[in-house]
């Protein structure tokens, strides 16, 4: 999409294969953001629309009197200058993330129907998500099948590290995209085909901002924070810690060597999310891993039990709406 930040989907690949989806609005992608847009209607709010430099202390209190009737569906045309088509205001009232949420719910249904416990691991780059996953797989593989969806802008390095443990992994490369969305995960699941009653770990793109907004269909978002970062990160990036059900404080073996107050960090996380759970551990040294593994075991057991309590599974394994027919 945008060559500046590129959060669009056209550079997405799954295990190196392009994930092409012709969404068919024909913007030509070479936008140099000159913003001299010369569209002829003269709406008079001064200097709006994403000026560069982002000083943006204009308050957008633009008083253009658009009088579209916020009521039910199409309101009648209001008169316009001669020669232009009459314009109509239409009430829309649609959630902007509805499309993502629909796909996330489809993923969630597929997980539920197959007794799969899915986690969405989010963090800054370098907090140790992949190491945590590798160590988790080593310790649990004998009792619990685990597969992994790896999200990174580029390279299959993380998926390679997971595969080295013997576990299956699918690498999603988002190109310049800054987060995984439910659509990418849905496709990755088709490739991954996780077995019933297993665990799917989704390692999101390292980014403490954008992944907060996108439900992937997981049971829980797990925010991983390492003690080499700042203890105030939950306050600096509150949306992510508000969206997470569990915070893992990783690299705790380094606590004696760094200026990091773990208690204060926990208090900060609880300030933005009073109900967040916290586990302190060191993925490399193993301290605290037992508590995390128990969390995964308990979630997997619950997902299994929920599937067992359901009526017979659909022949397709829950991917479609065939309802068993």
């Amino acid at each position: 999409m945008c060559t500046t930040c590129g959060c669009g989907t056209d550079q997405v690949s799954i295990d190196g294969k392009p994930h092409a989806h012709g969404h068919d609005h024909g913007h030509d992608h070479d936008h140099g953001h000159s913003h001299a847009h010369d569209h002829g209607h003269d709406h008079g709010h001064g200097g709006c629309c994403g000026g560069h430099g982002h000083s943006h202390d204009h308050d957008h209190a633009h008083g253009h009197g658009h009088d579209h009737g916020h009521g039910a569906a199409p309101t009648p045309a209001h008169a316009h200058a001669a020669g232009t088509a009459p314009s109509r205001a239409v009430a829309v009232e649609r959630d902007i993330l509805a499309a993502n949420d629909r796909e996330a719910n489809a993923n969630r249904r597929a997980f539920t129907q197959r007794g799969i416990f899915a986690l969405n691991l989010v963090s800054s780059p370098g907090s140790g998500k992949t190491t945590l996953l590798v160590e988790t797989i080593k310790r649990l593989a004998a009792e619990l099948p685990i597969t992994v969806i790896e999200g990174d802008q580029q390279t299959s390095n993380d998926a390679d590290r997971i595969r080295a443990t013997g576990a299956r992994a699918v690498q999603v490369n988002t190109g310049k995209g800054c987060h995984l969305d439910a659509h990418m995960v849905g496709h990755a699941l088709e490739h991954l085909a996780p077995s019933p009653d297993s665990v799917v770990m989704i390692e999101n793109v390292g980014n403490l901002v954008c992944p907060a907004a996108f439900d992937l269909g997981e049971a829980h978002k797990v925010a991983v924070l390492s003690v080499t970062e700042g203890e105030d990160k939950p306050l600096k990036y509150p949306d992510m810690f508000a969206a997470a059900d569990l915070m893992i404080l990783n690299k705790c073996d380094l606590l004696p060597y760094v200026e990091f107050d773990a208690d204060r960090c926990e208090a900060n996380a609880r300030r933005v999310n009073p109900s967040i759970r916290v586990i302190r551990l060191s993925a490399t040294k193993g301290e605290g891993m037992a508590q995390w593994l128990d969390f995964v075991r308990a979630g997997a057991a619950e997902a299994r039990a929920r599937r067992a309590a359901r009526p017979a599974a659909t022949p397709c394994g829950g991917h479609c709406a065939c309802a068993g027919k």
Binding site: C7, H27, D28, H45, G50, S87, V90, I96, A212, R271
Partner: protein, 113 residues
């Protein structure tokens, strides 16, 4: 910069509605963005302008109504207005808050012809 994805989702909704209504052009779009929705409004405006180029909504005016964030304060036992998730309760200064409003992102309405 997930504002780019959000802008693309807005355009998807706009195109959908425009097709349904038989519009050739969309001249303005109004959004409601909650102050706790993790959206930077200036960034969203920037991305919207980029995304609508060459589309039915090219050059459309983007109006954004920002709705206040609210949270339940466990100490006050009341809903209070909140500017940021990291803020304490503006009434009692307490830190035990559960956000209960101002996280929505909606396309409210649009004008087309």
């Amino acid at each position: 910069m997930h504002e780019m994805s959000i802008a693309e989702s807005v355009l998807g909704i706009v195109e959908d509605v425009a097709a349904r209504e038989g519009f050739a052009r969309v001249s303005s779009v109004r959004l409601e963005i909650g102050r706790l929705s993790a959206i930077e409004v200036p960034a969203l405006r920037f991305c919207f302008d980029a995304v609508v180029r060459g589309s039915i909504a090219e050059g459309a005016r983007l109006d954004i109504d920002e709705t206040p964030g609210t949270a339940w304060c466990f100490d006050c036992s009341a809903t209070v207005e909140l500017a940021s998730r990291a803020d304490p309760c503006p009434a009692c200064g307490g830190g035990t808050l559960q956000v209960n409003g101002g996280t929505d992102m909606r396309v409210k309405d649009l004008v087309g012809h």
